[in-house]
């Protein structure tokens, strides 16, 4: 079998060498606890402060607006639940609004809010996953505590008009959060220009390790902590800070921002090559969300008459790594809630395969997928009708 190829960068990415190198001292001599007053502590504190500043610069934010978390899920949970709980006291703002195509980290937080007595509302999205503007106006009102809309959808790559939604939310006194886990490094993000109040990112999607994320919290945003304990991070996120990982995240973020334009051009060319070759070979393949503006690294394709579970296995056995839908606890594939929400028929949704490009993607890899995938799809169809 030829060398395996990795087309699952939306799931996770390899840690970049520069990031690994930046973190290494903190697994060695610079092991101190940033809360300690002695020299070891000071060294760690310096690194943490710098990491916060550097990440802040990547987002157009002040250092005090950055909270490091253990992952994107924690950032999303904190954004929604923390704000909703903090605004409970206002009395009149009980609703939490989001979209049906969010990551489970947001949807799960929304369900938790509903369990605690909040009102859960979902915006309407069109067939590409874009939020319907009239639905936004109807559901994001003066009774709403928080609204969350992801910047780039992790399954489709669809971009949302965050600028407009953040502005409208602000005019109605609604705290606006965006999950930018897939957007960071692909979209120009600037907190000074776009009035979102909260924004989540995740390290392992951009070349930092798993186990680190961050939440931007605009000054003045009402927020209750989810964890209780020490006074780290102004009490917003108690627990000894993960210095090495914070440094890694800051480094990865800087690299991603610096390389963004060029990398986006490169990935888009690769993605277009992948899609056009597959379409030429399988003319009835469906590329989900293609009519919308998309981030350049995600392509979600269904070949009608195939099933993603079998296709993923066959692709894996031929050395092509990609993904589909979401996995349940047992690891079996269940059809995607995102495709269902944008009105894709069950049969077509069941066939969806997500290819996501990134650092490891090359033209040769794309050509390999563009050859293997149509061949396996053809075979799967033959078997299905046999």
């Amino acid at each position: 079998m030829p060398e395996p190829v990795y087309f699952d960068h939306a799931a996770t990415t390899p840690v970049r060498e520069e990031v690994f190198a930046a973190m290494q001292p903190f697994f060695g001599p610079r092991f101190g606890n940033p809360s300690s007053m002695h020299r070891w502590g000071r060294e760690a504190r310096t690194a943490l402060d710098e990491a916060r500043e550097r990440l802040g610069r990547c987002l157009g934010a002040s250092p005090d607006e950055i909270v490091f978390t253990s992952c994107g899920t924690e950032a999303d949970n904190m954004a929604l639940i923390g704000v909703w709980r903090a605004r409970r006291g206002e009395g009149s703002r009980n609703a939490a609004v989001s979209t049906p195509i969010e990551h489970k980290a947001v949807l799960g937080a929304l369900h938790e809010i509903a369990k605690e007595g909040g009102e859960e509302r979902l915006l309407m999205v069109d067939s590409a996953g874009r939020v319907d503007a009239s639905s936004f106006d109807a559901l994001v009102r003066d009774d709403t505590a928080v609204c969350s809309v992801m910047w780039v959808n992790n399954e489709l790559g669809t971009l949302q008009d965050v600028q407009t939604m953040a502005e409208r939310a602000r005019s109605r006194g609604v705290v606006f959060h965006t999950d930018a886990v897939q957007a960071f490094g692909k979209v120009d993000i600037d907190a000074r220009r776009t009035p979102f109040d909260l924004l989540s990112i995740s390290g392992h999607k951009i070349g930092a390790p798993k186990g680190i994320g961050a939440l931007f919290i605009r000054r003045g945003t009402p927020m209750e902590p989810l964890l209780f304990g020490g006074s780290q991070d102004r009490g917003r996120r108690p627990g000894t800070e993960n210095v090495a990982m914070a440094v890694g995240l800051a480094r990865a973020a800087e690299l991603a921002v610096a390389e963004r334009d060029e990398e986006c051009r490169r990935l888009q060319a690769l993605r277009d090559r992948l899609e056009s070759t597959i379409l030429a070979r399988v003319p009835d393949a469906v590329i989900h969300g293609r009519e919308a503006a998309r981030a350049p690294h995600i392509s979600n394709i269904s070949v009608p008459g195939t099933e993603s579970e079998s296709m993923l296995i066959a692709l894996d056995l031929r050395g092509v790594a990609c993904s589909a839908g979401s996995a349940c606890q047992s690891g079996s594939i269940t059809p995607s809630h995102v495709l269902e929400a944008i009105g894709v028929s069950t049969d077509v949704a069941k066939a969806a395969i997500r290819f996501s490009l990134g650092a490891l993607s090359t033209e040769a890899g794309v050509d390999r997928v563009a050859e293997v995938f149509p061949m396996l799809a053809e075979k799967a169809r033959r078997l299905a009708t046999a």
């Binding site: 296995i313 349940c328 269940t334």
Partner: protein, 366 residues
């Protein structure tokens, strides 16, 4: 190029050892655990989709250095196995879901998955053997599972590998230890039906058909002559030959001898009324070619763990997949819904589902 084999792995010792033996024999082994049902929060000790079994199977594959996949066959299994199971009880019969799982799930749906993976072979941890393209009993008579395999497509036999069928259970455990599969080597054998984890099949019936379904409603317990001698809480709780749960006070032990869904009656009688001399068998599938014909003498097994007895096929309708068999000696509790499997010595000829027993010796039509 090594030949690829897809192994169905339940996380138990038999299928784990099967996979390990195939790795040792040099096959390109792919492990797969079928997700067949999901209890959700119903069964607190066993989280969603028998997660523990999946995890054990995955750990074994990791140890063996082979890929492991979870295959979602839930909807097909629900249709082909669980619904049939429930319907059979509603019809007053006693189904064997494992037979249908082998027929439809393991050796049909899973074979299709094997095709998609370019796997030449399909393997399981069954105690049975394929010799010269024919299905045979497993070598360990106390573990033989050939009784459950009569329904599979004959063409699949040439692709089946049953690595533990040629050894005893004790040997399987020894091999598990030798191969370092300590995780599962002494795992207890499950006696339950996989989708009835607490052993109470009426819960599955209630969940599927509703708690007020007739097979779970009260009905009379009566004698053959119609005398009502008691009441029961649902005929789906009974099976032909059962003694438990029946009223006492009779001169001799009484057994369920028939279940009549139309009146919800459970008919009881003494042991003599349980004896049968033949059976009508439906959904017959043959694993040999040419198929047996009327007049052929065969060995007949009418339930798991019972001895095969001599019999004669008195009627064979290939178009209706129906057979009538005469037994040389009376057999006890020929239960509708159970399997009737025909053997020639160790070799499985085929089998079917018992439609009904015959108290009189069936004779061959002239």
């Amino acid at each position: 190029m090594r030949e690829r084999v897809l192994v169905a792995m339940s996380g138990g010792v038999d299928s784990s050892v099967a996979a390990a033996l195939l790795v040792r024999q040099g096959y390109d082994v792919v492990g797969a655990t079928m997700k067949l049902f999901c209890h959700g929060d119903d069964v607190p000790d066993r989280p969603c989709c028998s997660l523990d079994s999946v995890n054990d199977a995955r750990r074994i594959c990791e140890q063996l250095g082979i890929p492991h996949y979870v295959l979602n066959l839930e909807s097909a299994f629900g249709r082909d196995v669980v619904h049939d199971f429930v319907d059979e009880y509603a019809r007053g019969r006693t189904p064997i879901p494992c037979v249908r799982c082998n027929t439809f799930t393991k050796f049909r749906d899973l074979v299709r998955r094997a095709d998609a993976m370019d796997a030449r072979w399909i393997a399981t941890g069954h105690y049975a053997r394929v010799l010269d393209g024919a299905l045979h009993r497993g070598l360990d008579p106390t573990k033989d599972q050939s009784y459950f395999l009569w329904g599979i497509d004959r063409r699949v036999l040439s692709r089946m590998l049953l690595p533990v069928g040629a050894q005893t259970k004790a040997e399987t455990r020894t091999v598990a230890h030798q191969l370092g599969l300590e995780l599962i080597a002494e795992k207890r054998e499950s006696q339950d039906i996989c989708f009835v984890p607490d052993g109470d099949h009426t819960r599955v019936i209630a969940r599927t058909l509703g708690a007020d379904t007739p097979s779970l409603a009260h009905g009379p317990i009566m004698l053959r002559d119609g005398t009502v001698v008691g009441e029961h809480a649902g005929y789906a709780r009974f099976t032909v030959g059962q003694r438990r749960g029946l009223p006492g006070g009779f001169p001799e032990p009484m057994f369920v001898v028939a279940i009549e869904p139309s009146t919800r009656a459970v008919v009881i009688g003494p042991r003599s009324e349980l004896l049968g001399r033949g059976a009508v068998v439906r959904e017959v599938n043959w694993l040999v070619d040419p198929a047996p014909v009327a007049g052929d003498e065969v060995r007949v097994q009418i339930r798991h763990r019972s001895r095969a007895v001599a019999g004669t096929l008195v009627r064979v309708s290939s178009s209706e997949h129906e057979v009538e068999v005469a037994l040389e000696e009376p057999a006890s509790a020929i239960s509708p819904g159970q399997s009737c499997v025909f053997y020639d010595g160790e070799r499985v000829l085929g089998g079917g589902v018992i439609e009904r027993g015959r108290r009189e010796l069936p004779v061959r039509a002239a």
